[in-house]
């Protein structure tokens, strides 16, 4: 035995003697029938419709899982800075698109989709990718098809493209160039669609490793009145709902040839003058990182609104406006105690609003009553994802 080994052995022996002594001393005071506890590990249910997932963001790794009914934390999915998480619609897995380097911040770059079991939250496998964008706080850079079989990972290297992953075979299958477009949505049976810098929507029909790209006619002004790229996609209606900086609301029917309906102004829907791009026009405007959410069964849209001038599109909302999209009416306005930056809504019969702000506090509000059900400190300050099982 070397000198070092002897030292380590001696240290272990001493540690064990102290531990054993402590156990014996406690055992003397304890009831005779006490069974010593063992360390074990909890499991959780598959994703439930009342659960929401808060990305810790730039300052806090991990995506925390909360139950909106109880306000309790259920567990955490490992997400590092700038990772994107998606939930398997079949409820079996959590998928994390992420990037690491072999030596921390340097060395060999590795991009991957990491797969976690939804009940144990244990690592299942890693699917290597040729690349992905580094940005964070976006819902639509990593999306899963409605049937849960395919993932689309936006890449920017800085050429613009999409990497396609077969989630059944757990394998990367194709890289498709997508010049001038980003912000993805599923397009069932076709491939995916995306928004483009010319104001159009691109649809990519994926055939094997090739993508056939078509565009709608331009319908929005990507430079002067952009659509927020954290828009909403409704799997049941195959419909996307878009919101622009000034407050125009568009709905698009997603198919091989998507169609976009004429927009309406959220301010006009509330009976006030529409938002404008001109300076010195102070008005209610949408804002935040994730400024809108849609409750698909009722067609209600929830938008974070603030008072300000144009080009304040990242500013947190001081109110939530509830919009009946089909009727083009703002039916309710919720005043917020603290400004909120991200919003999501549960797809349950009694919808709950989930929000967080710069302080990383998460808020749960009952849509029907406006009552604050829970406030969770240090929940995380970035994107909120909801469970929406098939």
């Amino acid at each position: 035995m070397s000198r070092n080994s002897r030292r380590i052995f001696a240290a272990f022996s001493l540690g064990y003697a102290l531990f054993a002594g402590a156990v014996m001393a406690q055992a003397a005071d304890a009831p005779a029938d006490l069974t010593p506890e063992e360390s074990d590990v909890m499991t959780i249910d598959p994703p439930k419709p009342t659960w929401f997932y808060v990305d810790g963001g730039w300052d806090m790794p991990g995506t925390s899982i909360f139950d909106g009914e109880t306000g309790k934390m259920k567990g955490m999915v490992e997400t590092r800075r700038l990772a994107d998480m998606a939930i398997d619609p079949n409820g079996q897995y959590y998928y994390v698109a992420e990037t690491i380097w072999s030596k921390g911040d340097r060395g060999t770059r590795q991009d991957m989709v990491t797969v976690y079991d939804s009940k144990t939250l244990n690592l299942v496998t890693e699917i290597p990718l040729p690349g992905r964008i580094l940005i964070g706080s976006r819902k639509n850079n990593f999306i899963v098809s409605d049937d849960g079989k395919t993932a689309f990972v936006y890449d920017f290297s800085p050429t613009s493209g999409v990497n396609i992953v077969d989630l059944t075979k757990k394998k990367f299958t194709a890289a498709i160039e997508l010049p001038g477009c980003a912000s993805l949505m599923p397009n069932p049976g076709v491939g995916f669609s995306a928004l483009c810098s010319d104001g159009s929507m691109a649809t990519v029909a994926v055939k094997g490793t090739k993508g056939d790209i078509t565009h709608t006619a331009p319908f929005f002004d990507a430079t002067n009145d952009p659509i927020f790229d954290n828009f909403a996609y409704d799997r049941a209606k195959k419909q996307a709902t878009f919101l622009t900086y000034t407050g125009q609301i568009y709905t698009a029917q997603i198919s091989a040839s998507p169609t976009v309906a004429a927009p309406f102004s959220i301010q006009a829907a509330a009976g006030i003058r529409p938002g404008e791009t001109k300076p010195l026009e102070t008005n209610w405007l949408p804002g935040g990182r994730q400024p809108m959410a849609v409750h698909r069964a009722t067609g209600m849209m929830f938008v974070l609104m603030h008072m300000g001038e144009y080009w304040t599109h990242k500013e947190s909302g001081t109110e939530v406006w509830q919009v009946d999209v089909a009727a083009k009416k703002v039916v309710k306005r919720f005043k917020l105690k603290d400004p909120m930056n991200n919003i999501a809504v549960s797809q349950t019969d009694k919808p709950l609003l989930y929000m967080n702000g710069e302080k990383g506090e998460a808020l749960v509000i009952d849509v029907a009553t406006g009552e604050e059900k829970h406030k969770i400190e240090k929940a995380g300050g970035s994107t909120i994802t909801i469970a929406d099982p098939l």
Binding site: L82, G136, A182, T223, P226, P279, E309, W311
Partner: protein, 181 residues
Amino acid sequence: MTKFNADAWGEKLLRKFAGGSSRRSMLTRMGAALVAAPAFPLLPVSRAEAAKPDRSPEAKTVFARSAQTKDETKCDYWRYCAIDGALCTCCGGGIHSCPPGAEPSPVSWVGTCINPDDGKAYLIAYRDCCGKPACGQCGCDNTDRETQLYMPQLNNDVIWCFGTTSMEYHCSTAVLVGAAS
């Protein structure tokens, strides 16, 4: 200062890359990206040239109306009209200089900002400094003419550390590129 010419600037940039890089290098790919994005630096320029610039208070954004030209370590310094991140001027660097040991990204997002001293608009390249942990000092997020990801050259959330030895984001500079109008 000469008037900003997007084509000449792009060509100069690409020639610089081509001269100092192998054919398959990251920089060559970035050149392709610039070529593939015809809208790249043209948009702020063409917008500025489309009409005679109006610099009255009524035509200025909230940021431009209150911007100052004295202190580069404050978020309201005029060049920071579309910056997002930690100011390199607060991290041991300068307005166009990376702090020691950090590496400037050769590509960037851009902003068109008005200098209140002369009332003119200038094209500003927000080049990230890379290869060190986030500096964390003087965090700013200004959003004049800042758009979304489908127009990445005008989006201030993208980590622009391309072609650098490490993609870790440290801080952001605001490099004066040319006159925009």
